[in-house]
């Protein structure tokens, strides 16, 4: 897949996020759009996972700690062939496995997440197990900035550096907004780089919508041998739809028919400009 095709895929997947949220009349729109490029790069350039052999013990692990942005994960997994995209027609419907958070009922999902602050500790366990078994696969998690205040994250930050887990990568979807408002008003997450460095992590900051930069950060091995890697991906909540970008009301807003058409036309314009 060329870089251009990867960029086109980001647009397509954004359209799919909106399509299924619009149909389900539910979903975490802003956050899914903000982390979509990260997922696109992970599943199409970084993760060693096979849709037809997902349980392979040597696969890379990806556990989405910010489980509420499941729509971004689902459209990416469907596009990658983990399940037919038409399954997403049932998103959030009665008895569908495609619910508002990831569950292992869906092929490609590692763990049931949704409560915040849970992904990283599980990844620490996975990474320790890989080290014990001398395996070379890597373990990735995606954190939301709104979940950083969860204490369990900081317990795991300590443990990951204590055990020198350089096979562990935590990616922060740093859109700097959460349901109530800006992080800085809800709970200040400034100096996250310094905080993580002081916890013994190697840290790199990237533009979370720059696919090449993301790939370079995630695919070049650990940022520092003997340290877990923390990638701060600077993102924009609602990325790709002008009226959603940076607007808190789209945290879990569902577009009206007119808004949906407007969003699609904006994304179509981006697509034709690539």
């Amino acid at each position: 897949m060329t870089n251009k095709e990867l960029k086109l895929k980001s647009v397509l997947l954004r359209k799919n996020i909106l399509k299924y949220i619009y149909k389900a009349k539910a979903g975490h729109t802003g956050g899914s759009l903000s982390c979509l490029d990260i997922l696109n790069v992970l599943y199409n350039r970084v993760l060693n996972v096979d849709p037809n052999d997902f349980k392979n013990l040597n696969r890379d692990r990806y556990i989405q700690s910010k489980g509420h942005c499941v729509e971004a994960l689902f459209v990416t997994l469907a596009d990658r062939g983990f399940f037919p995209e038409s399954d997403l027609e049932t998103l959030c419907q009665y008895q569908s496995h495609y619910i508002g958070h990831p569950t292992k009922k869906v092929n490609g999902v590692e763990q049931n997440t949704g409560a915040l602050g849970h992904g990283l500790p599980i990844c620490v366990g996975e990474a320790i197990a890989a080290k014990l078994d001398n395996k070379t696969h890597r373990v990735f998690t995606l954190l939301g900035d709104g979940e950083l205040p969860e204490g369990s994250n900081w317990e795991a930050f300590l443990a990951a550096s204590h055990y020198k887990l350089d096979n562990l990568y935590a990616i922060l979807d740093y859109n700097k907004q959460q349901i109530t408002g800006n992080n800085s008003e809800v709970m200040n997450t400034d100096s996250v780089r310094q905080k993580l460095e002081s916890f013994g992590w190697a840290v790199k900051e990237v533009d979370g919508h720059n696919l090449e930069a993301l790939e370079e950060a995630l695919n070049s091995g650990p940022l520092e041998v003997g340290k877990p890697s923390f990638i701060i991906a600077h993102t924009i909540k609602g990325k790709g739809v002008s009226y959603m970008e940076g607007n808190i009301k789209w945290h879990h807003g569902v577009p009206t028919p007119e808004q949906y058409e407007l969003a699609l036309s904006e994304l179509n314009q981006v697509e034709s400009s690539l």
Partner: protein, 323 residues
């Protein structure tokens, strides 16, 4: 802390169940390198110092961080390790309850959660260190087996089964030496209560470290009144052995349940709920810690205070039998 002496006559005294837990796990780890113990600065209280010395690569220390303890254990179990997450029952089942609910049970990662120094083992340390809520909290979570072995035999068997159990499991152990309750009854499986004393005049269903005083009360009833009380070690709180419950209730005689747990939501309520819905109307009494500010003291003193003792249970049974 000065431990109270346990009456040794009539029964052969063993060790503390959590010591047997550690010894059995060490034995199993000799031939199974996939066994991993995760501790939260709790290897001393869990009697796991020798395990750590013998198998340094099979013990993962996370420091005093119970949420991380359970999350990390879930990750290890997901990666195929036979994972034992060991921490005082009071912290494990409260501080890390959401991790137990989501990362272990909901995600179906087969962690063995080991609650040490359970119930009022840390009696004099106060409510912070008591686990009188764990049965109730965990009973209301899907996909977990809850086990409280009564004696060293049950503990050893439970640990051996736990290694083969590929589903979430919670076990709790106390600190005090326990006697062997019935050396003839060598059957043990999760979900099957163990009859440790036969009788048909009354039934005492107990669990964990309360089976011993239940046994003593039954003996006193027989010695003093010729009353034969059946005593069951209902070591598995969930799933409950409902077949045995029905067999025991069939004679219509009184049933007393005993547990080192608050009377709300534990073994007694589980038994009562099942039997009542099945139409049984045996006289029924739940003995446990009442819903009040818990008294402190040694485990035996607290047991005595709340009638979880030979004398207390003897009196409770006498009242139900009207003798």
């Amino acid at each position: 802390m000065q431990l109270d002496k346990i009456e040794e006559k009539d029964l052969k005294m063993g060790k503390a169940n959590q010591e047997v837990f550690s010894e059995t796990l060490q034995e199993l780890a000799e031939t199974d390198s996939s066994i991993i113990v995760v501790t939260s600065d709790s290897r001393g209280s869990g009697k796991l110092v020798p395990f750590g010395q013998k198998f340094p690569s099979q013990i993962v220390e996370v420091g005093i961080a119970e949420q991380n303890l359970v999350g990390v254990a879930a990750g290890l179990a997901s990666a195929g390790k036979k994972t034992f997450a060991v921490s005082p029952a009071c912290f494990l089942s409260a501080r890390a309850l959401e991790q137990i609910k989501n990362d272990v049970c909901y995600s179906d990662n087969p962690v063995v959660l080991v609650g040490i120094s359970s119930g009022v083992s840390y009696g004099a340390l106060g409510t912070t260190h008591h686990s009188l809520h764990d049965f109730a909290a965990l009973r209301s979570i899907n996909n977990i087996t809850i086990v409280a072995p009564a004696d060293n035999f049950e503990t050893e068997q439970a640990v051996r089964l736990a290694v083969k159990h590929d589903k979430p499991l919670y076990m709790r152990f106390g600190k005090k030496a326990m006697p062997f309750l019935d050396e003839e009854n060598k059957s043990f499986e999760f979900g099957k209560g163990r009859l440790v004393r036969k009788g048909n005049d009354l039934t005492i269903i107990a669990t964990g470290e309360t089976v011993y005083p239940a046994w003593l009360a039954a003996k006193k009833l027989e010695d003093k009144h010729g009353v034969k009380a059946a005593v069951v070690s209902m070591h598995t709180i969930k799933p409950l052995d409902v077949k045995l419950l029905e067999d025991l209730a069939e004679n219509g005689k009184p049933i007393v349940t005993v547990e080192e747990h608050m009377v709300n939501g534990g073994l007694g309520e589980a038994c009562a709920s099942y039997l009542f819905q099945k139409g049984y109307s045996n006289p029924f009494k739940i003995v446990g810690i009442p819903d009040e500010y818990t008294v402190t003291g040694s485990q035996v003193e607290i047991f005595n205070h709340y009638g979880i003792s030979r004398e207390g249970l003897y009196e409770t049974c006498k009242g139900l039998l009207d003798i």
